[in-house]
């Protein structure tokens, strides 16, 4: 794959073969060799083949090999000539991250980290299956699918103020439970309010460094304050919706004459019945994921209050923001000087709207949308702020995490003979996990250094650094 260097942070993949637009990869010279090691650059080129793609097929610096789209991929499609592709959203629809800030200081919890980790592990269901304490009837599940996070708040699991600072206010319009298979509902119904396994986590940390005091103040982040981060998605419901959609979209691609360089990119024209049905089902999964993170927020607040023997009000744990990583959305962007409605696919990427955008919650509108970028469980995570440059260049999008460096098997081999729990504890991180194998697969060096990733976003002016968070207690699935 040919890369043309644009500047210190951007590389262009020129148009070849059936590509309709060039690729645009955000990376550094140092990072490029590792990016070339897998087939994600080919996937950037493959996405550029899709009808109606606008401007570029984009990849963020945390890019790695995905299904159809690379993880870290962003693409926008023209409303009338473009397509909707389940492969541009992924299996874990609205996998995302929520950040909460507390009134507590690091010093107030540092002696209780083991107890906190244990309490979070017991209270927030995690691991394979990960059945929740929440029991949903069929009709209640349908309500979750249409109402999202507000369903949980309405059922006593959260605060009304939470909803104001969630992407889409925690509810994507257009969801239709009738477009979701019974299989998907069967997979999701027992799982509302559960982390799942793999790279999902619930993490207590603290604000270790502030880079932008104005934005940090707007986000309510103070040096030394305790934070909580929840990373999870739409669980089995979303996986099944994606699976169901792929079957239908494969037929649709043939029906509409869409030539696919990879079957996983199967797609349908945006206004076709197939795309409308997928959008309605996907929106339901998005809402399930918003509700899922909302329920776990409630569980985590309970766990901390019980453990620290303090009231929830005195602990705080207000939501800073909640971002989606895997999503397709209708958004309005400026294309060739005109304001146009486009469908933006973000697959392992975060929305990063800049200052002044009406979709940025009012408290943050002066500084840009919070962009939450979790790293690995041993090092650090970052909070960034969206920029006007992101609006112009990346459809208001940024990176979403560190990006894997080692395969799961390589990570397990690297973990052999080591006591990862003790290693992490020696670093000041208490880890509780449902499975030792998961901790091995997720060991810190399995991931790129997220600092390198966010430095590229910051240097490119796409999202600017606001704060660094250090983990103290982590629950893994």
């Amino acid at each position: 794959m040919k890369f043309e260097r644009v500047d210190d942070y951007r590389f262009r993949i020129p148009i070849e073969g059936g590509m309709r637009v060039p690729g645009l990869v955000f990376a550094s010279d140092a990072m490029l060799p590792s990016i070339r090691e897998d087939k994600s650059p080919e996937q950037v080129a493959n996405v550029a083949h899709l009808p109606g793609i606008l401007r570029h097929s984009i990849a963020m610096p945390d890019m790695h090999w995905g299904y159809g789209f690379p993880i870290g991929g962003v693409a926008a499609f023209d409303e009338y000539e473009g397509v909707l592709s389940p492969g541009g959203v992924g299996y874990d629809i609205n996998c995302g991250v929520r950040l909460l800030r507390s009134k507590l200081t690091r010093e107030q919890v540092v002696g209780s980290l083991e107890d906190i980790a244990t309490a979070l592990y017991r209270t927030v269901p995690c691991g394979v299956g990960g059945k929740s304490r929440v029991r949903l009837s069929r009709s209640e599940l349908d309500d979750v699918l249409t109402q999202g996070a507000s369903w949980a708040v309405g059922h006593g699991m959260g605060r009304a103020s939470d909803l104001a600072v969630l992407e889409e206010n925690g509810c994507m319009q257009g969801a239709n439970p009738d477009k979701i298979s019974e299989r998907a509902k069967d997979r999701g119904r027992p799982q509302l309010g559960s982390l799942g396994s793999g790279n999902h986590f619930c993490e207590l940390g603290y604000v270790a460094e502030i880079y932008d005091p104005v934005a940090a103040a707007a986000f309510g982040l103070e040096q030394g304050r305790v934070t909580l981060m929840i990373h999870s998605g739409s669980r089995g419901l979303g996986h099944q919706i994606c699976d169901d959609a792929l079957h239908r979209m494969l037929k649709a691609s043939a029906k509409y004459g869409i030539e696919l360089p990879d079957r996983q990119l199967c797609a349908a024209p945006l206004h076709s019945p197939e795309a409308r049905d997928y959008f309605a089902a996907m929106a339901g999964a998005i809402n399930f994921a918003f509700a899922n993170r909302q329920v776990m927020t409630h569980f985590a607040r309970e766990a901390l209050a019980d453990t620290l023997k303090r009231s929830e009000a005195s602990i705080g744990l207000e939501v800073v923001y909640d971002v989606c990583h895997n999503i397709a959305k209708w958004e309005t962007h400026v294309v060739e000087g005109e304001s146009r409605r486009v469908c933006v696919h973000r697959k392992g990427a975060t929305r990063a709207f800049g200052p002044g955008h009406p979709d940025v919650p009012e408290p943050y509108r002066q500084v840009g949308q919070p962009v939450l970028v979790p790293g690995d469980m041993g090092r650090y995570s970052y909070v960034l702020a969206g920029t006007e440059r992101a609006m112009q260049e990346t459809w208001g999008s940024s990176c979403h995490g560190a990006g894997r460096r080692l395969s799961r098997n390589q990570a397990k081999r690297a973990a052999q003979g080591r006591s990862l729990f003790r290693e992490l504890r020696d670093q000041g991180v208490f880890v509780m996990a449902d499975s030792k194998a998961t901790v091995a697969e997720e060991l810190p060096e399995a991931y790129k250094d997220v600092a390198d990733v966010v430095d590229i976003m910051d240097g490119a002016g796409i999202a600017t650094k606001v704060a660094k968070l250090i983990p103290m207690a982590v629950v893994k699935g």
Partner: protein, 137 residues
């Protein structure tokens, strides 16, 4: 039980398997074993009960993906973990009788989101059948 086998391949984010057997039915069976090995970390399963499943594919490769997703659904949602199967192919359709353990959710130690079309191939010749499948975990 057909002859053949499966082996894990390196993949950055997820799990990939190479499957081989003397027939396409054998490759499909090996795919089932690869999925069960992943889900249970190689636990030995008993053929306590049987189930029948039917899958319609758009073509042979699509049928392989759908078959494995059928297995994943049975395991994760119904807790039926198959250890043995008899597969009959008809055009791009598949019918299979499965034998395995029931209510065996607790045997599952790794979650699989789905079998994918990513890097998928299924080659069948007179001498052998060979496939590659990637599982999103």
């Amino acid at each position: 039980m057909t002859d053949g086998g499966y082996r894990a391949l390196e993949h950055t984010a997820d799990l990939a398997f190479e499957l081989w057997a003397t027939t396409e039915e054998g490759v499909l069976e090996q795919g089932m074993h690869a999925v069960l090995h992943t889900l249970t970390a190689g636990a030995e399963l008993k053929p306590e009960a049987s189930r029948e499943v039917e899958v319609q594919g758009l073509d042979s490769e699509d049928r392989l993906v759908r078959w494995l997703n059928e297995i994943i659904f049975l395991c994760l949602v119904e807790g039926f973990l198959p250890c043995d199967t008899e597969i009959v192919l008809d055009g791009t359709d598949l019918r299979a009788k499965l034998r395995g353990e029931v209510e065996a959710h607790e045997r599952i130690v790794t979650e699989i989101k789905s079998a994918t079309y990513h890097g998928l191939f299924l080659h069948v010749s007179e001498a052998e059948a060979r496939a590659q499948i990637v599982l999103d975990v």
